[in-house]
């Protein structure tokens, strides 16, 4: 109970409380925000088997503020807490107090999404997590239009999610259903429509082609610490939703959508890979690489195979870790060089070997270097997809691995290697605090890459068997 | 029966007169006659009290009000200078359509529908005797017993109207030239400047 409160309520409360601090005192704000994030992270470690429930609605369907950890949510919550902690540490933007407050609000809202056991609460936090990002984009982004684009796309998704949730509640009688096993299936009349609403929201949030066009500008405009959290964790909300809502609650509709989703996933992963090859904005490269990687996870989820699902969850964590590292490091670079355009960068490794090292590990994990966590997720996922009998999808999904090598190396080399670009003002290497912000993520990538077994404490067969169709 | 048709012709004639006059004063006069003829028609329908009210309230109060306003507006300026007509062209098809709809309905009614309706009086209505019907006493009794609440509400509506009028017309409103007039003035000024001459 206390743990869950610390995870969901504490960041939100602390976020609002932060506004009470003096505006100019950056150190105090950062200290408090870091402390709160650290407490949240510790609470996350103690999250195992916690549960709390407060009754909310009785009519027209029952709903409750029900939060609990189900294994999958545990790791994502931990990832979120870690990413937020690192991002708060690394944050160095104007109006720091307000920014950190938004970061904590974002953390609390997303915790709510990943720990909610009630669909209505899930939907509530789903929409809530738009707000901090939207405000962050408005306040710190480059173009206000990006903020609106983000809001409109994701709010459209939130709307269908809410409609579907309401429909589910009415059809089923309760929304307090996430993570419960042995539920009666909804059947073929309402199921497809409800699933369609959920699926739209999930696809927008992930995002998956062709609903992705909000993502590159959002990722390149949002301040790096926030985009680190958004790309690392918020993009997983949709995939998480497919697993805990789609697979467990609407298996018939989920199965019926298999081919559409496989196609969308495959298109995404090729499309993102190809576009990332030729972008010149460093953050956009990572953004499109995300499209590619998340498409792969979608394919894995929709292959309905326990192994693929296990791989997908490993890759969810993997993608969170390396995307956070990449965006944080790109933030450091942008802060120093005042650009993130590849043609205007080069040879930084000479003056900034530590930044180069951290960036290299992030990029290598992203391109699936064996020994790092990206590879573990990718291989297990693809093996599962193949074992599920999807020969061609598995084969096609191999192409982006080559593309990833090409664009990630291009990203790394164009920034870090080659001749130094003259006339660049500051060439300060990683500071201690920045190093502390990146180090846990890097260590986690290496540790879970060598030993992904530690990560697979959850039982994926639960969801896969839940999605088995009745004979 | 002849009276009805005579009155009908007069009513229609005065109505057309009202809406076709350029000068509002003539319209008021036409309306005056219209109301008078209508009051006559009311009497034929056993509604003596209402006929009286019609004369007193309409001709005595409302039309006088119209005349006052006309007098007020016509002092010194020409308020009714017609500008370009901005009515949408849709007025003709819409009007035709409305007429067609009406015509259809009338045609339909003329085959006896109204007669069917008329032969089934609404339940619960206060059906009086033919000879007592329409008497002032009958009317007054109904007004102050069954229809007391609507009557009081009417009083309230009138009060609101009075307050509204006082608020609207009571305060001094600044003169703001309309956009059309402003544009006119501006064009004149521009032309004057182009002519290089003085503004007249």
């Amino acid at each position: 109970m206390m743990v869950l409160l610390a995870l969901v309520v504490l960041p939100i409360a602390a976020g609002f409380a932060l506004y009470a601090l003096p505006r100019a005192d950056r150190t105090l704000a950062k200290g408090i925000a870091t402390g709160v994030a650290a407490v949240t992270f510790l609470a996350g470690i103690a999250l195992r088997d916690q549960s709390m429930s407060v009754r909310w609605l009785a009519r027209p369907f029952t709903a409750a503020f029900h939060f609990a950890d189900d294994g999958i949510g545990f790791w994502i919550a931990l990832l979120l807490a870690l990413c937020t902690l690192c991002a708060v540490l690394a944050a160095n933007v104007p109006r720091l107090r307000d920014f950190l407050a938004l970061m904590l609000l974002l953390e609390g809202a997303m915790m709510g999404v990943f720990l909610a056991r009630d669909l209505l609460v899930f939907a509530l936090f789903w929409d809530l997590m738009l707000v901090p990002v939207f405000l962050g984009l408005l306040g710190w982004g480059e173009h206000p239009s990006t903020a609106w684009r983000y809001l409109i796309y994701n709010f459209a998704g939130g709307l269908t999610l809410l409609l579907s949730t309401a429909a589910f509640g009415v059809a089923f009688g309760s929304t307090d259903v996430i993570g419960r096993s042995g539920l009666a299936h909804l059947g073929y009349i309402w199921g497809p429509w409800i699933f369609a609403g959920f699926a739209f929201a999930f696809l927008v949030k992930t995002p998956i082609w062709p609903l992705h066009t909000w993502m590159p500008p959002t990722y390149s405009d949002t301040p790096p610490p926030m985009v680190a959290v958004v790309s690392a964790v918020q993009s997983k909300a949709g995939l998480y939703g497919f697993i805990v809502v789609g697979m467990a609650l609407l298996p018939e509709a989920m199965h019926a959508a298999t081919y559409v989703m496989l196609w969308l996933g495959l298109i995404s992963l090729l499309y993102g890979g190809f576009v990332a090859l030729v972008q010149t904005d460093a953050k956009r490269i990572v953004a499109y690489s995300s499209l590619s990687h998340l498409g792969l996870i979608l394919v894995a989820i929709f292959s309905f195979n326990a192994l693929a699902l296990r791989g997908a969850l490993i890759y969810v964590i993997a993608h969170g870790l390396f995307n956070a590292v990449l965006f944080l490091v790109l933030g450091f670079i942008e802060e120093r060089e005042e650009t993130r355009s590849l043609p205007r960068l080069g040879g930084l490794a000479r003056a900034n070997p530590k930044i180069a090292g951290a960036f290299a590990i992030g990029a290598l994990a992203a391109l699936g270097l064996p020994g790092l966590i990206g590879f573990a997720g990718e291989l297990i996922m693809l093996t599962g997809i193949f074992s599920a009998g999807y020969f061609w999808p598995a084969l096609i999904a191999l192409v982006p691995i080559v593309l990833a090598a090409a664009y990630m190396l291009r990203l790394f080399q164009d920034i870090m290697q080659g001749p130094e670009i003259p006339d660049v003002p500051i060439r300060r290497d990683l500071t201690l605090i920045e190093g502390l912000a990146v180090a846990p993520l890097v260590l986690a990538m290496v540790f879970f890459g060598v030993n992904p077994h530690a990560l697979t404490t959850f039982d994926t067969t639960l969801y896969v068997s839940a999605s088995e169709l009745a004979p | 029966m002849i009276l009805f048709w005579v009155l009908a012709v007069l009513l229609v004639g005065t109505a057309i007169f009202v809406v076709t006059q350029t000068k509002p004063v003539y319209s008021v006069v036409g309306l005056l006659f219209h109301f008078a003829f209508l009051a006559m028609l009311f009497i034929t329908l056993n509604a003596e009290f209402l006929a009286l009210i019609q004369i007193v309230v309409y001709t005595g109060a409302i039309l006088v009000l119209f005349v006052f306003v006309i007098a007020l507006l016509s002092s010194g300026v020409t308020p009714f200078d017609p500008g370009p007509d901005r009515m949408p062209r849709a007025v003709i098809p819409a009007g035709l359509l409305a007429l067609a709809g009406l015509g259809l309905l009338v045609y339909d009614e003329s085959r006896g529908s109204v007669a069917r309706v008329a032969s089934s009086p609404a339940a619960g209505g206060m059906v009086g005797q033919a000879n007592a019907f329409g008497s002032v006493a009958d009317f007054g009794k109904a007004l102050f017993t069954t229809y007391l609440l609507p009557f009081e509400i009417t009083a309230f509506v009138l009060m609101v109207a009075v307050i509204g009028v006082v608020i609207l017309a009571g305060k001094e409103t600044p003169y703001v030239p309309s956009r059309r007039q402003a544009a006119l003035v501006e064009r004149e000024m521009r032309e004057a400047i182009l002519r290089g001459g003085e503004l007249e």
Partner: protein, 106 residues
Amino acid sequence: MNSALLPVSLMSYVGLSAVIFFIGVGGVLLRRNPLIILMSIELMWNSANLLFLAFARVWLNNAGHIFAFLVITVAAAEAAIGLAIVVVVFRRTHHVDVDDVRLLKG
């Protein structure tokens, strides 16, 4: 049949009322002088009253009389407000044309 109480058929009253009503409608639609528009509205009110009375007579139900009475009072209020608006508009623009009052334009 109660319509025997009437000197002519009920349909004639309905028709007369409709004709006057549409003359009023035409006046509202086609005239730009607000005063004449207001008068046209009065015509419409009265055509409705005529119907009320005719039907009250047919059904021997004086609810129609009550309604006509209410209509007259409301018409009086309406006329007062309408004229006040005309005065206000005139004070602002020194010109009275309903087409010039376009604050509702979207």
